[in-house]
């Protein structure tokens, strides 16, 4: 189960509506206890994919990861996942998402349709890397 405060979901939606029709995203910081994850902060990160591909691709730099992981470690939190948008497509992981994914990491996908956040779903890659399992997303 993934616990997400409504205020943080609101910040995610506002950001991803702003990047529409391109993809946007960022990191999820929080606490993890086995399968249960509580998200306590979100950090938008600039999409560095080639501009003409940003309508269906999103990427961060390794330096973004290092900076955010160091911040999480310093705050006693964990880098528990990341979120990104699927403009005018379902909030379901693509094959491209799966090929670039890690287990034990929360992937929140927001479908943004016509500039409005329409659906928010959470996923996790299975240990054998074959599929994403949908996670129950509990809004607090």
């Amino acid at each position: 189960m993934i616990e997400l405060p409504r205020s943080l979901q609101g910040r995610i939606h506002e950001q991803l509506q702003g990047t529409y029709p391109n993809e946007g995203g960022g990191f999820l910081l929080g606490r993890q206890d086995g399968e249960a994850v509580t998200i306590v902060d979100v950090h938008p990160v600039e999409n560095v994919f080639e501009t003409e591909e940003q309508h269906h691709r999103y990427a961060m730099t390794p330096q973004d990861w290092a900076r955010m992981e160091d911040e999480a470690d310093a705050r006693g939190l964990a880098l528990v996942g990341y979120y990104h948008s699927h403009p005018d497509h379902p909030a379901v992981p693509s094959e491209y998402d799966r090929a670039h994914a890690l287990p034990n990491f929360v992937y929140i996908i927001v479908s943004v349709r016509g500039g409005q956040a329409a659906e928010t779903r959470a996923w996790r890659l299975t240990d054998d890397r074959t599929v994403f399992d949908e996670q129950r997303l509990l809004l607090l």
Binding site: E23, W65, H84, S94, Y96, L102, N104, R129
Partner: protein
Amino acid sequence: MASIKIPTPLRQYTGNNAEITVSGATVGEALNDLTTRYPALRPHLYDGDQLRNFVNVFVGDEDIRFLYELDTPIDDSTKLRIIPAIAGG
């Protein structure tokens, strides 16, 4: 011995240790030592014998792709870091 910082999602395979000391004279040997001791890590770092294309390995601030890749030499003071490239679509 050199050390490797493990990315958060993969720490479950290293007994929740964030940093592991490793032996070896090159990055490749260090990663082999790491994945021999923590074999569950290997499928998430390698596809066959090749590092997965979204797995970045840094020596200090330098990506090994811009050095000598897995043949990049290291010494006891080297700090390695595995950083997944985040990409979605």
